[in-house]
């Protein structure tokens, strides 16, 4: 899946890429198991063809959009983003996709649509750990409309120039580079436009640990560990000091204004 170099500000970091091997074997995708090696082992059962995404809620053009049509909806771009997991590790991944805003403009949200909710596949036949009590299924995520419309918010179909591996959320996923990785809903089947802040899977599981915004923030600790530093997978050696985590994962220049005046300690 080829993508042209993106012209969006901040869309291409010059940092060293994480190896494809690491990015496709160290994953959090609980539908396939809670161990980070599980998705690469188990996700082969996922059926990504045929696939469609249902658009519903406060929107003028609701309906089922086939994957083939989504792929052609806008020009595919390569975006090289840092990804910071809430667990304290990070990667640098070349994604392929286009700004989610292209899809949103196409389906024409109504004025009352303030948030976008993402629902992902929950098929117990192909996903062995759907039904486990760790999370409520289907996995749900959400963004405020202005976050969803931000040009850096990516609807991704591929990485490293190829279609997404199943363990990375094939065939279509979200990538929001200034938020913790779990905001990036994988294997999306439904996008719903709503007027109220939608409930999200991790927030429902542990509200004191995972907020709706979940912006990367070194100054707001996770209750069980510090978020001030991170380990870059494959690069920071065992004995190296961990690197400093940046506010909004280093995308403050691009997204800082979205949160002007907000108390980030309260809205974590």
């Amino acid at each position: 899946l080829p993508g042209a170099r993106s012209a969006v500000a901040g869309a291409v970091t010059m940092e060293k890429l994480t190896s494809y091997e690491d990015a496709s074997s160290y994953n959090n995708f609980y539908e396939f198991g809670t161990d980070k090696a599980d998705p690469a082992r188990n996700a082969h059962t996922l059926k990504t063809d045929p696939w469609s995404v249902e658009i519903e809620g406060l929107v003028k053009k609701p309906g089922k959009y086939a994957l083939e049509d989504l792929l052609k909806l806008s020009a595919q771009e390569e975006r090289i983003y840092r990804m910071r997991c809430v667990e304290g590790w990070s990667m640098v991944i070349p994604w392929v996709g286009y700004s989610l805003s292209a899809l949103i403009q196409k389906v024409e949200p109504q004025p009352g649509a303030k948030y976008v909710e993402f629902l992902t596949l929950a098929d117990p036949k192909t996903m062995p750990f759907v039904g486990s009590r760790v999370l409520s299924w289907p996995y749900a995520e959400g963004l405020r409309m202005d976050e969803a419309m931000h040009p850096l918010t990516l609807l991704s179909f591929g990485m490293y120039g190829e279609v997404l591996p199943k363990q990375n959320g094939a065939p279509v996923r979200l990538v929001v580079p200034w938020k913790y990785g779990f905001k990036n809903a994988k294997s999306i089947v439904k996008i719903r436009f709503v007027d109220k802040e939608p409930a999200t899977a991790w927030n429902k599981a542990a509200a004191n640990e995972y907020g709706f915004y979940s912006n990367v923030n070194p100054n707001v600790d996770h209750p069980r560990w510090s978020q001030a530093t991170e380990r870059r997978i494959g690069e920071d050696g065992l004995f190296a000091k961990k690197r400093k985590t940046l506010l909004f994962n280093g995308y403050e220049a691009q997204v800082g204004q979205l949160y002007a005046g907000m108390d980030l300690k309260k809205n974590y």
Partner: protein, 214 residues
Amino acid sequence: MKLLLHPAAKPVVFALCLLPFAWLTWGAFANTLGANPAEHLIRATGDWTLRFLCIVLAVSPLRVMAGWPALARFRRMLGVFCWFYGALHLLCYAWFDMGLDVPDIAADIAKRPFILVGFLGLVLLTLLAATSFNRAIKAMGARRWQALHKAVYLVAGLGILHFFWMRSGKNDFAEVAVYAAILGVLLGWRLWRRFSPAAATRRASAPARPRARG
């Protein structure tokens, strides 16, 4: 079970106990511990501490139920290995996660209940390991030494709480439940032996038995 009394039995068990350590050390150098070796080492050493805790607490029930008195010879070594993996666990956390920054580590331990609980468990375990040799038993007196070493049950409780808290954010209690169940059975067996009618007759018929019942 004459094998348990074989002169080579202790060295063999010692070598077996070192296998996880050897495996992890080799993995760290050969880079076979996955994408995040630091996390793997921290978790694996924690897992092995809990496993050795289960193993050492299984010695007495096994000894009695299977009628293998010779098993008692291995209990001290297994206990010291439990401490060894616990100490490695702390070292891995302190080094790989905290860069051996002592003020940072102290602040982290004080701030986070699940780390504090694990740390307290290891402090206790260190006391037990430090008093595990014969001279310490003599110096303390068998009664006081036994009382101190009852703290291993507290260590088990703290260890499970540490693990439970660590997993609670992910509601992922399957593994925690397995360890809790094993330790529960091992402790339950002791309570049952202590308070069952058979225990009363045992005590009555052999009131001055000096040996540790564990």
